[in-house]
Amino acid sequence: MQKLSNKTLSDINQNCSAKIIAIDHEEWFINKAEALGIKINNIITVTHKRKKGPICVNINTTSFMMRLSDANRIKVMKL
């Protein structure tokens, strides 16, 4: 078992994957994210990054874009 880290989704490099361990956000966001597959224990892959800009992520068969401020609120464990 890896040690719990303080990493957030925004720390993950392009083309790297991570496991979601917590989503610290407003309820509506958590609900929507969950419906899109962004929920605890799922593996998320960062597919594109823009400098200080949004990131593009992939879970299972779905891709979405997310702002950095939101990615900052998703705690992950690097794989």
Partner: protein, 574 residues
């Protein structure tokens, strides 16, 4: 009559399905408990006429977003007989929970597994029979894009299982019924994304693409618009002559100057809207719009907007109306309203005509080009300033979670259906409002308070203390009142007001006003309310009178302030 509600997550192909069934016959009706427009269509389903109701896309039943609230309120306040739940088969694993939730609330749910073509291509196998048994709901694989799998709609209704609730699916249970390939088969999307989302090439590619599309839209639409204008003009001459000979003057003027001119002005919008929507629906359906949103998001975030707003504002430079209509895909009301507030400041082609006319009269060709360029810059500046002033301070870091669908090649049929749908939408909602507006302007300019003084004259002399400091005289004020209908008729209105014909209008204008006044008039024309069609569209899209009022008042106030600054600077320092 049976009522069937169409429910599904965003991007599951709900609109494609609804458009393919309704064509141009969708209607907006009132439903209790909801204030937004909900479209529905009456059509033959299961051998009887039923009403299919298109509800907004939702992610959950918990009322989080505005759209979710609408669906929630709709279901609470209206009796419905059945739900068609439409989902994207490739994402069945994450969309299925919502289906069961609805079923267990007691609704008769029928599951339409859409995009079955794509799922098959991606190597996804669904065991429909077993899943049907497990969920105790009828399931139909369909493809809305290719309109296949619709046969079930023609069958007599199958009996529904009793309303016993079924156990929710436990985690990963769905994978007993659905087989996903180990690796995604969709290599095309990954490759295209490497290019379109690239941190260096992404932006230039986007700009070039937009430029090309823009050229296509207006390269085709403008000549069409001109031809239609010419046809209406020459037909109008005959109609006018006929009316004049056979009807009392006031009545024939009402029919011609009011109704005919108003209606035909609206009609000339149609080519632009059709072509715009063909292109827009292509960009959206191909999956590129959300990529453009990604590329532009960082800049637009500072203005309280999201990346997709940029595309819409830019299209507003062609015509504000379709640009405003396309904001409906934005799911955040704050962002949508702000985008709608700034689009009318995009220098549309109708205003360009006025500016071309004025610059040709008042400036040398070199100077004229410079003035024109300046107008475009001014338009951009006003957009930025308005966004900065009106942006929701909280929205700066507004969360954005936008799905990036795979790239798809839209079919021609699908694209045309969308265009037809939108035109229908525009005509139905805007026409009454526009006709009303035209009639009001006709009354203002034709009804006399005393001999030789119309209501408009009265208003313009009443307003002249306000317009004097910006160099706009009484006659120009009346032209501005006409300009409310549409900027296209401004020049024509000037000709009537200055009692000249088109050929001599230039000379007359030159003798009546100076270039500073002309520039002030152009500035005012750029910023104040673009046209009735725009206001009608803002009203029908937003259902928010406050937004309409803000748009009107802010644009008028800003138009005055900017014109004042320019005019005073010009007359004092030149």
């Amino acid at each position: 009559m049976k009522k069937i509600a169409l429910i599904g997550m965003p991007n599951s192909g709900k609109s494609t399905f609804f458009n393919s069934i309704s064509g141009a016959s969708a209607k907006v009706a009132n439903w209790s408990g909801v204030t937004v427009d909900i479209e529905s269509v009456k059509t033959l389903i299961f051998g009887e006429i039923a009403e299919l109701i298109d509800l907004p896309g939702i992610y959950t039943l918990k009322s989080g977003s505005d759209d979710e609230l609408v669906v929630h309120d709709f279901l609470k306040n209206n009796e419905i007989d059945e739900i068609f739940f439409i989902l994207n088969s490739s994402q069945i694993d994450r969309q299925i929970d919502l289906v069961l939730q609805l079923r267990n609330l007691g609704y008769k749910v029928r599951l339409l597994c859409n995009m079955s073509d794509e799922a098959k291509k991606n190597g996804i196998e669904i065991n429909y029979k077993e899943l049907e048994k497990r969920l105790a709901i009828p399931i139909h694989p369909i493809s809305a894009k290719f309109q296949s799998g619709y046969e079930f709609l023609n069958q007599r209704l199958q009996a529904f299982e009793k309303k016993i609730s079924v156990k929710p699916l436990v985690q990963n249970e769905i994978y007993q019924y659905v087989n996903f390939p180990k690796h995604s088969n969709d290599k095309t999307t990954a490759i295209l994304d490497k290019f379109f989302l690239h941190h260096l090439w992404g932006l230039p590619t986007f700009i070039i693409l937009l430029f090309v599309l823009f050229q296509i839209i207006y390269g085709i639409a403008e000549p069409l618009q001109e031809v239609m204008g010419l046809v209406f003009d020459s037909a109008g001459e005959y109609i006018n002559l006929y009316l004049n000979q056979n009807l009392p003057k006031l009545f024939s003027s009402f029919l011609y100057d009011g109704v005919y001119l108003g209606v035909t002005t609206v009609l000339t919008f149609i080519p632009v809207i059709i072509i715009f929507f063909i292109v827009m629906s292509f960009i959206e359906n191909s999956g590129y719009l959300s990529r453009a949103g990604f590329v532009m998001d960082k800049v637009m975030e500072k203005m309280g907007l999201d990346g997709r707003s940029f595309v819409m504002i830019l299209f507003g430079f062609g015509c504000n109306v379709p640009a405003l209509m396309s904001t409906k895909i934005m799911r955040s009301k704050t962002t949508q309203f702000l985008t709608m507030l700034i689009i009318p400041f995009s220098l549309c082609s109708a205003r360009l005509q006025v500016f071309l006319f004025f610059t040709a009269i008042f400036f040398s060709p070199q100077m004229g080009a410079l003035v024109l360029f300046f107008m475009y810059i001014l338009s951009f500046l006003i957009i930025i300033i308005t966004a900065l002033i009106f942006k929701d301070k909280k929205a700066i870091h507004e969360s954005v979670l936008i799905e990036m669908p795979p790239y798809r090649l839209p079919t021609i049929k699908q694209t045309l259906l969308t265009a037809v749908h939108e035109i229908n939408h525009f005509l139905k909602r805007a026409s009454k409002f526009i006709l009303g507006g035209v009639i009001v302007v006709w009354l203002l300019t034709n009804f006399h308070v005393s001999p030789n003084v119309t209501i408009a004259d009265h208003i313009s002399s009443f307003l002249s203390p306000i317009f004097d400091p910006i160099g706009i005289n009484n006659k120009l004020i009346i032209a501005l009142i006409f300009g409310f209908i549409a900027k296209e008729i401004l020049i024509g209105a000037l000709a009537v007001i200055f009692s000249s014909n088109m050929d001599t209008l230039g000379e007359i204008l030159q003798s009546e006003i100076n270039w500073q006044q002309a520039l002030s008039f152009m500035t005012f024309t750029l910023i104040y309310t673009p046209c009735l069609s725009t206001i009608a569209t803002i009203k029908s899209q937003s259902k928010n009178i406050r937004l309409v009022a803000t748009s009107l008042l802010w644009s008028l106030a800003l138009a005055w302030i900017v014109s004042f600054i320019f005019y005073q600077l010009l007359i004092n320092f030149s």
